[in-house]
């Protein structure tokens, strides 16, 4: 479609800030749904950065002192809530997959491969259990005390599993969240 092509062609102009504010907003909305455009923009942004690096100039010497002094008077923005971007990213990805029919096909193919693999594993494990049962039966014939010990082991393992189920999992994410914690009241700056 013409509009879509038009937007896609805008990657270059967008990366060079050669678009109007309205176009920029429109294009950024488009970027959310177009991973191809997003990847292209990322590459072209890096390219634009090289254009800037190529024309680097030594700034006036006083500038450093002025900027460093200003940092002591300037409050920094807190990071964006850690879970939000991740959740958004996941939602966006889900959206992308659903929006693109060929992705859906790939997903379906992947699912069927996974199902086939799972089926194979199930069969293998059934086979394995049969083998084990046979081995146990043979062992029971060979030694009389062995099976009893096996059953005791089995009971012990079962008890341990129950114990694990009862014990709540340690919240491993908690220390990281605690380390990243920052003063909350900082919403005044834009």
């Amino acid at each position: 479609m013409a509009i879509r092509d038009d937007l896609h062609v805008l990657t270059g102009s967008y990366a060079l800030d050669a678009v109007s504010d309205t176009e920029r907003e429109e294009f950024e909305r488009h970027l959310h749904h177009c991973p191809t455009c997003e990847a292209e923009v990322r590459g072209l942004r890096e390219t634009a950065a090289r254009l800037a690096l190529a024309c680097a100039l030594t700034p006036p010497a006083r500038m450093e002192q002025q900027v460093l002094a200003a940092t002591y008077r300037t409050r920094q923005l807190p990071p964006l809530p850690a879970d939000r971007p991740r959740r958004e990213r996941r939602r966006v990805q889900a959206g992308r997959i659903l929006r693109c029919p060929h992705r859906l096909a790939v997903l379906a193919a992947a699912a069927s491969v996974a199902a086939a693999v799972a089926l194979g594993i199930t069969q293998l494990s059934v086979q394995h259990q049969l083998d084990q049962a046979r081995a146990t039966a043979i062992a029971r014939v060979v030694t009389a005390r062995r099976p009893r010990r096996d059953r005791a082991d089995q009971r012990g393992r079962e008890r341990h599993r129950r114990h694990l189920r009862r014990t709540p999992r340690r919240p491993w994410s908690a220390p990281a969240a605690w380390l990243n914690c920052r003063p909350a009241a900082s919403t005044r700056c834009g």
């Binding site: 102009s13 254009l51 690096l53 940092t71 923005l77």
Partner: protein
């Protein structure tokens, strides 16, 4: 091939430290990026005093928003220089909105005094120049007018006397060619 001298691998880590309020780390970030920030702002604005003011704003913005830098979305240099370029372009547009007397800025004449100030990023400079030479005339002019002069693509189209669609396409094609020629990774 040589490793990137201007993009050291620890700049992202330094920004992490800056985000936690580390002034020493910011000094290192300043040393690494101030030349390119000032250079690109000056390239767009031309006026030294105004460029200095805007470059200061940009570097302080890097200090202020370091926690918002997302490595998934690009290199630290690209992040910082996007802020710098956009700030410069915004300044130009704000001025144009106030008074439409900017016709003389249309000629992309290289300022003579820039030579004395040129930083030792000559390797990058040579590479960009070499890759620019590989573009078609229209691609090169479109990119230069858009990036170094801060024109919007409709203004570029007007200056070059070509259709809007042509300029959009040439900017994109030219940049893609530049990206591949400079072996930019992203």
């Amino acid at each position: 091939l040589q490793p990137e001298p201007a993009l050291p691998p620890d700049l992202a880590a330094l920004l992490g430290q800056v985000a936690r309020g580390d002034h020493r780390a910011f000094e290192l970030v300043y040393a690494e990026l101030s030349g390119a920030v000032y250079g690109v702002v000056r390239q767009v604005l031309r006026d030294p005093a105004q460029s200095e003011e805007v470059a200061q704003e940009v570097l302080l913005e890097i200090w202020r928003t370091a926690s918002r830098y997302d490595p998934d979305r690009g290199s630290p240099a690209a992040w910082a220089l996007t802020i710098a370029h956009r700030r410069a372009v915004d300044r130009v547009r704000a001025e144009n909105a106030c008074s439409r007397r900017e016709q003389k800025a249309a000629e992309p004449e290289p300022a003579e005094d820039d030579v004395a100030e040129t930083v030792a990023a000559t390797l990058e400079h040579q590479r960009v120049r070499r890759c620019m030479d590989g573009l078609t005339g229209l691609q090169r002019e479109s990119i230069k007018l858009a990036y170094y002069n801060g024109y919007s693509y409709p203004q570029v189209a007007q200056l070059l006397g070509v259709a809007l669609g042509t300029v959009k396409t040439r900017i994109r094609d030219g940049l893609i060619r530049m990206r591949d020629c400079m072996e930019v990774s992203w």
